[in-house]
Symmetry: C2
Subunit: 315 residues, 2 copies
């Protein structure tokens, strides 16, 4: 790594011990140890997704990541996971540098994590939740706009970030629609002190997803994503594929029940990420997929983003 590369000084780097204030998003079936280690080795924060797996899976992932990097990395916990208590305990016992959380409020785990020296950085989509989590002791906040891939809220990055920054004292990391140094520089103008990227890292050479998933990201245009599941209260952004088109049609045709949706969607993300199943796979991706044009190493992605951002920011 070119250690002379310019960075952007921010409280996020001080807080987490990373060189460049770029987090790799915690994506189920995608963000595993090898991608996370590559991002951390490149000076960003790699994040392992605990997804819906048990403690043994997470422990093995942490072990592998530690074999591959001696730099800080994070774990993302889905608060709806059936194993949430177990994986929350693993994060505490293993004294992971950073835990990020999604789909809920990590209230009851926060104190234990902080006592173990874990920085707690929840992902939020509104000012009210961000304020509540700051009061509960969150170390920082990831504010994510609806241009992001996967589970999304109602607010978009350009409007969300400055409003969250105005409301909080702790540092804010911007997510949603950011895939290059322009988006990173824009996020800093809005008051953010770091960025989290998901879609861009789907095309990292160290990302273990099926090659067809990467090709779909690289080939995507601006209008190639769609949000489904809104009616059921769990909107998800993914590429337009046979799966999402059919899901969207089912939503239009009748009042889809949660059971129907669950049964239709079961395993769809795994089928995309691991099997590259074009017909029944759900290829989660953000609106920034149109900005991702090639497969690069995590290090090249981070170096390219930082170079572009620091020039734009006149650093």
């Amino acid at each position: 790594m070119n250690e002379k590369m310019k960075t952007i000084s921010s409280r996020i780097c001080e807080l987490t011990g990373i060189t460049y204030p770029i987090f790799q998003g915690g994506m189920a079936w995608i963000s595993e140890a090898r991608l996370a280690a590559a991002v951390s080795n490149a000076g960003g924060l790699g994040i392992i997704s605990a997804m819906n797996a048990d403690a043994a899976y997470l422990k093995s992932q942490i072990k592998l990541c530690r074999e591959l990097t001696d730099r800080p990395f994070g774990v993302n916990i889905l608060l709806l996971s059936p194993y949430v208590d177990d994986v929350a305990r693993v994060v505490r016992e293993e004294k992971i540098s950073v835990v990020t959380t999604g789909a809920g409020t990590p209230g009851k785990y926060i104190e234990g994590w902080l006592q173990a020296g874990v920085r707690v950085i929840p992902v939020v989509a509104s000012v009210a939740l961000a304020k509540r989590l700051e009061k509960m002791g969150a170390s920082a906040i990831i504010a994510e706009g609806a241009e992001a891939g996967g589970h999304v809220g109602e607010l978009n990055t350009m409007a969300l970030i400055p409003q969250v920054c105005d409301a909080l004292s702790i540092p804010v990391i911007a997510a949603g629609g950011i895939a290059d140094g322009r988006g990173m520089a824009a996020a800093f103008m809005l008051g953010a002190e770091g960025v989290q990227c998901g879609t861009r890292f789907l095309a990292a050479s160290e990302c273990q997803i099926h090659p067809s998933y990467k090709q779909k990201i690289i080939g995507a245009n601006d209008t190639d994503t769609i949000v489904t599941g809104k009616k059921l209260g769990h909107p998800v952004r993914a590429l337009k594929t046979p799966f999402t088109r059919q899901f969207s049609q089912m939503e239009k045709d009748h009042d889809l029940t949660q059971e129907e949706a669950d049964s239709f969607g079961a395993g769809a993300l795994r089928r995309a990420a691991l099997e590259g199943d074009e017909k029944t796979g759900c290829y989660m991706a953000g609106q920034s997929a149109g900005l991702v044009k090639k497969i690069q190493s995590a290090q090249d992605i981070i170096q390219e983003m930082m170079q572009q951002a620091t020039i734009l920011l006149k650093l």
Copy 2:
């Protein structure tokens, strides 16, 4: 006006002859001559909305605006207006500095406008349409993200702007979610050369809307807007009020027909803007309403935005 105020040099200023690259959005029932003249006098580009009115209305508005300012201003044309041919002709005959267009493709008018010296700047929400309009001779493009108030597309500002900028040679103006100097600086980082603001100018002292509309904007939080009309193909963002809640419920309850929607919505924006009708008025607003905290003159709004943006951009 403090003529020594710093600006941001951009092709938009050269193209249109304005001092500060800030457009005031063309909003039906809201953007009339007095607001437009105030914005133009402050160094930005004021824009009169031709809305669904006839040529006589537009002519009288242009006349009034010319009495109030000798600076460039624009006219916004809704391409769905029943009087579109007439108002397009007025723009040409009056040799208006800038015409912006929404809700369609202004193809057949472009040549006539350009011949009359009118700069043609369509509002678009996708890369494909932006490219088509550049080919047709558009002078610049306003790329608007779905955080905007009023009619919205699918793409959000943070992801849309860099993709449109990559695709075009003509200058791009960013719209959607921008209400202060932070948003303006962010837009320039993304590659835009100007910004268009609607919601912020709702709270301009020269804006002639009902005082209760302004108070609603000033009191709004981040999550206080909602998009209705999506199913019918005409999504509109407005404040959460009895009107939009009822509309949203009607959409959920059954397959709303265009006739029902038209009948329910008829006059709703006028009732909000002119009468401040809390029950049946439709208060269009963007997600940036939460950033708008006080009533200020157009000049103070522009000076404040420019000051903040130029500091952030280290100009």
